[in-house]
Symmetry: C2
């Protein structure tokens, strides 16, 4: 049984608690995020009630849907795992014996995806960190899978365990980051055979948020499931009722599902855990050069993967992932946060809503540093994914250089931008008191509002206080050495790491976790051929 | 008679002409804007067919409308010009004799604004530069009224004629800048008594786009009207049929209309020229500290000014201007591009559409330099004004430091971002050919699309080529010296100025213009008391 309970929690309905404002003396640009005295903020459960934007007419939406089903019927997918092909055949797909090719009748696809839950809860070991996926809910996951890491002092370097841990600690430090999203950077100083054990153990200990496991062979999935279960301190039976782990399943575009990905679906969906099927369809490279064509292919691949989750287990929680962008046609370099990316994100949202499946997309950019480009490409991404109705946003914070680098400074920039999106989505107060007629009467023509009772009662919490924006006048800013956003972000991430506190964890759970990891390491972890 | 003809020209309906791509050899980040061989691009007439976003329910919209009319009835406005009070009294307003106070019955306001044209054409001396204002049209005007100017080499300095001219030339150089928006920087090396003569003469000679005149006393308006008429080579009668000049009328918030502004409305509206009534209502300073309250006051002030234009001349073209943002409550510094600004922009759009009046808003930010903040604040502004249905966007390019500085580099950054917005708004091609089924059939599972016929036929024009985005890989970018967006923008603005070409102007017009300016200078221009 999947957990189909859908408890949207609009910000406006949340009980208000006294606000504790954290400032450092004279600290321009310090972290001034309003927090509740309970220690968690209003950013925990975000709801996006904006009317969603569209780039496809109803007819165009049907045309894309129809073309993608034609692809699955006529061309099919290469499915690189005998067990998966057997399961597909059993479900009614057309498997060409002696090859990897599987073709899917459109009726079969539609029948399969009909059982996908439109919304569900992803459980964390701390219940206040549970995230609602689907409907109008908006969940931000940290950057995942960068091979490199960068900060200003250390430059760009290969990932290691220390930087991995720092990034995970930062994810824990901001409530706007609802879950981690994988390894924020790949810690290559840990041997691949045991890396998942150390990394996932860190996810349990350093955060109390839900987390992701890589589908890189059956055993890693099984280890991850056990670590997530131990972390939550529940039985395997309870975990099967309560999705508590997610995995990203990338198709190998065009039109191929690789073995480890298919194994991941089998292990995760059969236990009612969360699968995010995401084709990576760069228009002009792994997909047609037109955005419409790339979205057609994205849709075909996503539907095939989603249908397979339901062949494994009807009702298993799964997301429709869209990751269509364009390439720079002069160099083949991927481009992100472009107008084409925006249209693809919004088109993907229309398709996911058509199928009533939660929608995963990403906060992207291709800049090599923290400059205006990093901000405008991420800003355009956030625009599109918000207006397009993204539910689960991968790479929300820290993504730099087209995903090759996890940037500490970019992480802070993104947190600030995400918080601004959250504030934008907070319903506007239009109470009689907020309309302020009495204040206007008090001040009258020609006055000002700085000292009025209406202002004094509200000024401390009236507006969002950004982490990074420097609003000092030019002279004061010059006296301070003309710091840029990059300078502020560099200072803030280090301050935030200094302030980090490990979330409480039951000693019994910690012991069980350490025992499990130690045993699995003694067993050699996972066999690797490198 | 106002020109109510509304000829929306969707991009998709424009005839396609061969595209000439302008690149410099090896020039990463050079200006690669696609242009037609005719010399003007697809950015001339922008149409925003996105469904507009809302932040107010129908009830909340009514509540704001109602509260603002209550203000005009109960409190009223201070109207600092006897002639204006007389005209208002004649129209039925309640003028308190011996004071500046005027109160407006809500029925009077609604009756007056009913005659505002929902859309009209602002005529330029080159007809391809005419802009359609209202409906779904989107017009970008350059930065206006900055006291300072900045580029990286020259630093921040007071405005002068040379920089004024450079900025006007840049406005002419990009079709995405549809009109200038005032003096992009105040050239204080020209005496105030004749500054308008030199500056507006430059507007005619250095651009062929429509322009703005400041309402700083009756005589300046009259001179500007004559310069606009001469520039277009038309009679006063024809100009009265064809709005060819616009003026921004700022209320003096809270609730005051100053003399020169009222004179500006009288001179401009009586001749059927374009008035943009814009309260500048910073929540917490000149308006209530709540965004809803500030929007209530904005609406009251805007409606009073708009109603007055119709008292002067029924059917005169006028825009509803919104400029509500918040201040940093710790310092009183204005903040822009904030979540609060976004909500105010979208609320303003809802009000303008309720009244069926074209909507003016702005591309804002408060950064002191060209950093990530400059980009994310402008990006959030563009998001809000696009989704909010802005028709006429002031300060579209070059606005820095909360409007205190016209930045050459920011101008280029904004042009790039505006072009991306325009590309985003271009309808997605969903033709059978774009859906690309045949290309998918050709490539099949596991291939790639780099060399396919479908790709080769389209790759040169498939995607927007940004001016500034640096998509080189880290190694190549490092070899190039790790340039940031700021570096690229610095190079591009200088290149663009070198490429500038003066638009053709009839010799007879130039002579008439020079004679007029010379005569008015001999007459002493406008009397000044400073």
């Amino acid at each position: 049984m999947s957990d189909n309970e859908f408890s949207a929690m609009p910000l406006v309905d949340q009980p208000e608690a006294p606000v504790e404002r954290r400032r450092r003396a004279g600290g321009r640009g310090a972290d001034r995020t309003a927090r509740r005295s309970t220690g968690h903020s209003k950013y925990l459960n975000l709801v996006n009630t904006m009317t969603k934007s569209t780039v496809l007419s109803e007819d165009a939406l049907e045309a894309i849907h129809d073309a993608s089903l034609t692809i699955l019927e006529e061309i099919g997918m290469d499915v690189i795992l005998p067990e998966a092909r057997q399961r597909m055949k059993a479900a009614g797909a057309d498997v060409t014996e002696g090859t990897d090719r599987v073709r899917f009748d459109r009726g079969l696809i539609m029948e399969m995806i009909a059982s996908v839950p439109p919304a569900f809860t992803l459980h964390a070991r701390n219940p206040i960190r549970n995230v609602q996926i689907g409907g109008n809910n908006l969940v931000f996951a940290q950057i995942a899978s960068a091979p490199f890491v960068a900060d200003r002092e250390g430059g760009r370097r290969a990932g290691n365990q220390e930087d991995f841990r720092k990034l995970v600690k930062l994810a824990q430090s901001y409530d706007i980051i609802h879950t981690t999203g994988g390894y924020p950077v790949e810690p290559i100083d840990i041997h691949a055979s045991v890396r998942h054990l150390d990394c996932l153990s860190d996810m349990v200990k350093l955060t109390d948020k839900a987390f992701h496991c890589y589908s890189l062979g059956q055993q890693r999935n099984i280890d991850a499931l056990e670590i997530a279960r131990i972390g939550r301190g529940i039985s395997a039976e309870q975990m099967e009722q309560e999705p508590s782990l997610f995995t990203i399943i990338n198709t190998s575009s065009p039109l191929r599902l690789d073995g480890p990905m298919l194994q991941g679906i089998i292990e995760m969906s059969s236990r009612n855990q969360v699968v995010v099927v995401t084709p990576f369809t760069l228009a002009g490279a792994m997909a047609p050069v037109t955005i419409a064509g790339a979205v057609v292919q994205q849709n075909a691949e996503a539907l095939a993967g989603i249908a397979f989750t339901q062949m494994v287990r009807k009702g298993a929680p799964v997301l429709y992932g869209g990751f269509t962008s364009n390439v720079d046609m002069k160099t083949g370099a991927p481009a992100f946060g472009t107008p084409e990316y925006m249209k693809a994100v919004i088109a993907g949202g229309q398709l996911a809503r058509k199928y009533n499946i939660p929608y995963r997309t990403s906060n992207t950019n291709a800049s090599n540093t923290l400059d205006a480009q990093a901000a405008y490409e991420s800003g355009f991404s956030l625009w599109a994914l918000t207006q397009g109705g993204g539910n689960f946003i991968m790479h929300s914070a820290g993504w730099s250089e087209g995903g090759l680098t996890a940037s500490f400074e970019k992480f802070i920039l993104d947190v600030d931008m995400l918080q601004m999106v959250a504030e934008f989505l907070t319903p506007l107060d239009v109470s009689q008191d907020a309309l302020g007629l009495d204040a206007v009467r008090d001040v009258g023509p020609g006055g000002h509002y700085f000292g009025t009772a209406h202002t004094l009662a509200r000024y401390e919490t009236a507006f969002y206080s950004p982490i990074l924006s420097d609003w000092r006048n030019f002279e004061t800013w010059t006296e301070a050495g003309r710091p840029t956003t990059y300078d502020h972000a560099n200072r803030v991430f280090k301050d935030k790491l200094n302030e980090y506190e490990k979330p409480p964890l039951d000693l019994a759970i910690e012991v069980e976790l350490d025992d499990f990891v130690a045993r699995r390491k003694r067993e050699g972890g996972v066999a690797t051929d490198f």
